[in-house]
Assembly symmetry: D2
Homo-oligomer: 273 residues x 4
């Protein structure tokens, strides 16, 4: 009677379960083993990977989250503020509007860099020559297709993206500079802009590479960036509630935009049933 196939896979989950007196997350007792014992960033790592990070992994993962949390009045922050202007009683909607801009142009870079590196599949033991070979392959493939290399270059931070530099230093300090990040650094060495300028690694590219080395699934890479940025958006919305700019921005748009209707010839151009 149903139109669906009978043999759909069963539903299984490893994430959470509640009983009358306990809440379990990835096999840990939430109240006894996680709350007060591990920080939120490390709990997020656990939710995504199924294991708690080591001390160094936890620090690095937290630093990635801190790095991406805010970048000022971005299109995402503005979209969230404008949505709050219309629906201040439903803050979750304004946050959602803010994260919906995390696509190919901004935070998606993160995932694209990760996909590119995982496709190259550098092994744990890859030496410099091997990484150089892979990096050249990546750069050449993108150049021949006319594609931009994800994770390189930044509209503001043209010299060095300070977040990328800091993360790289931290990864070295903690012995967590794995094959994906080492490959990403080689890609940076070989890449140049169409006009021949060097293209420094940006925060998104570095974060994507580090998260690959930390074992974050490709499907979760963009999600890590989204949770991080959601924290920044909540900061913007708390400010919007105290010192609103939404209506001023609306005003600016109405005042600055030129209205040029496409209708050429007035009512006669209109066709009606």
């Amino acid at each position: 009677m149903t139109l669906f196939e009978a043999d759909l896979p069963p539903m299984t989950t490893s994430i959470g379960r509640s009983t009358a007196d306990g809440i379990w997350v990835q096999g840990y007792n939430l109240a006894d083993e996680l709350m007060g014992e591990v920080d939120f960033g490390s709990t997020f790592f656990l939710l995504v990977t199924g294991r708690l990070p080591t001390a160094g992994e936890g620090r690095l993962f937290n630093a990635v989250l801190v790095a991406l949390a805010d970048h000022g009045l971005t299109p995402s922050a503005l979209a969230a503020r404008l949505t709050y202007t219309g629906a201040p009683e439903a803050v979750q909607g304004a946050i959602a509007a803010g994260v919906l801009g995390a696509g190919s142009e901004f935070l998606g870079v993160f995932e694209n860099a990760g996909r590119m590196l995982r496709a190259a599949a550098p092994s744990e033991e890859a030496d410099d020559a091997e990484l150089d070979r892979l990096a050249r392959g990546i750069v050449d493939a993108h150049r021949s297709r006319g594609d931009r290399l994800p994770g390189l270059g930044h509209p503001f931070h043209k010299g060095v993206d300070p977040r990328a530099a800091r993360l790289c230093a931290m990864a070295e300090d903690h012995g967590l500079l794995g094959p994906h990040t080492r490959l990403m650094l080689r890609v940076q060495d070989h890449a140049t802009s169409p006009s021949g300028k060097s293209l420094p690694l940006n925060a998104g590219g570095m974060c994507g590479a580090l998260l690959c080395d930390l074992g974050i699934d490709t499907a979760a890479l963009r999600g890590v960036a989204v949770v991080s940025r959601a924290a920044g958006i909540v900061g913007h919305l708390a400010e919007e509630a105290r010192a609103p700019m939404g209506r001023t921005l609306w005003h600016l748009a109405e005042r600055e935009a030129h209205y040029r209707p496409r209708r050429a010839s007035g009512p006669a151009a209109r066709t009606k049933d």
Copy 2:
């Protein structure tokens, strides 16, 4: 020419600013002063309040975030998974769908408890008698209006919500049991269900009270819960990518639902132009 009033307030922000070589968050240099120096939870606290937490505040705020990060296959997690089924290439949309359910029935409780406590405005110096008086006022006002008290009772955790108990103990340990939380505990003492049963404080109520004491703006209370739960949702989506249940859930709904069209009398009932 424009229809808007001329005297809209100027736009000001305290949150973030980028220059060619630096990124600033609430006056801190992101790469030098925050990354690797403070954890993500504490950075979130900074974004919302404009100051870094003390050590104890940071631990408590992290514990609140950990407490709310996941509660298994909630309607939010399921909505996110179903959205991922249709649009796996736009993970930000599935996360947004998940957080959009953070309204009055679930995570909004958080904000409602905070509003209730802030409306009572317990002072820092309030003694037990004063808090008792305020608590009785709150309970009586809700009872006379027939409203549920936010933050009390839980469909699963009927005895004690283990998360609330843990947070309470942590707040005491860190000397952070402030007037809002002490008032919330008194409300718990006085509240009973319509059938006369005691109503234990739940995680949402405890978190709302603690965040008031931590100085989180009312407008940001629900946002804190949303960021926390977003981490859980990313965990669910990473799992959905590996071991999908979206189509099985769809199948279950189609199979279990009864179809009862409201149309009584067939084609003749239809009116057309």
Copy 3:
């Protein structure tokens, strides 16, 4: 073993069902009885109410949808455009961002007016005196609470909202000026702004009243406005793809906003674990 009560209600739906060779909507065969036979607005009416509209009802419902479809560069349209700037490959996300602003400040007015009128419950046979009495009661109750009356006044259209006037005339022409709309017109007669000026009925208030008379459920009132406005948003996004303004708007915001970090005293103010 499960924590849920055993006696949840069964799932039933009247809306749609597919078989191997037919698709049914509210009991109508979609391809044979609806496509090409009734317009989209009337199909929307069917989806929400479970019956097809009469000819006049169909025209009026379509006119309501047309009335609300666009209002220029609103915060909703701008939020959608900014989201598209970040994620042009996921247009559904930009549309979602646009509709998320349909809250208490703008399109929610629609629902609030409907709730207000339905709470007064004017009967089909109510005469002018009875409606006057109800209208005075509504106006007095709002005034005594210090609340704005939903559906009255408009920041631009201070004399007459031309959409409200047109809808009123259409409803009269089609014999569809029911008790909710007649009550709303009386509320307009009695209402004045705090400064004593008359407050003309706006499009939202008129639409809310008419939809009550058309039998649209209160829970669907805001949804009608959302679908209508979604059409306008798709128009804005099609234009954004051809002639983008998202980055210019971002630029304007960055340029016009003042940065005033709240951090008073520099690094020393920072507390670390």
Copy 4:
């Protein structure tokens, strides 16, 4: 001082503008020329294309919108209902959650079919031989890449998708069977599933082709489907308010899902700072 380039394009819009006594949409006076004069579907066409449709175009565009408005308890409808369960006071959020699933797996097919056809660029005068040549090129290219052809085949409607058949007949009747639709029909003739079965054109493929012939921008194709489906979602939410299934679905998921935590070895596996 700003980091943005000085030469961003000016903001221009053709869509809407308000003055103190008039609202203009694409150059038409909304209240006088559109409301009551053209139906909502045709207004949507105007918003997207900048011109009103002819009578036949208006009927066909309305039929496309009707065709896609509902397909029963889809993942989108379920996500919307689950979101409503958590936040019934913010219906716009539930609608947004529903449309966010309009991605690559379901309604995005629409856009993909349109992109495929526009990339082939069939001319208005293309004869059967020319269309055959283009269709074979499309089929061969997809087969060699191992890609599915968008717009062909359906999990339920394995013989004929009745919506596609109806739309095709309507387009013929109105003389609107243009080169993109004729090409799509040829693609259907040449395409077979991996197991050699014929793959009938589905509603999404037919709608995508027809909208190309109607001159809808590629960037708006998915948006047309989203507005259509939003109407269905509002129908589901109106029903959810009357006869909820959200909690039952949650219950089913909790009851049917198996919990298998990934944590192998208990507390000792946990690493702490």
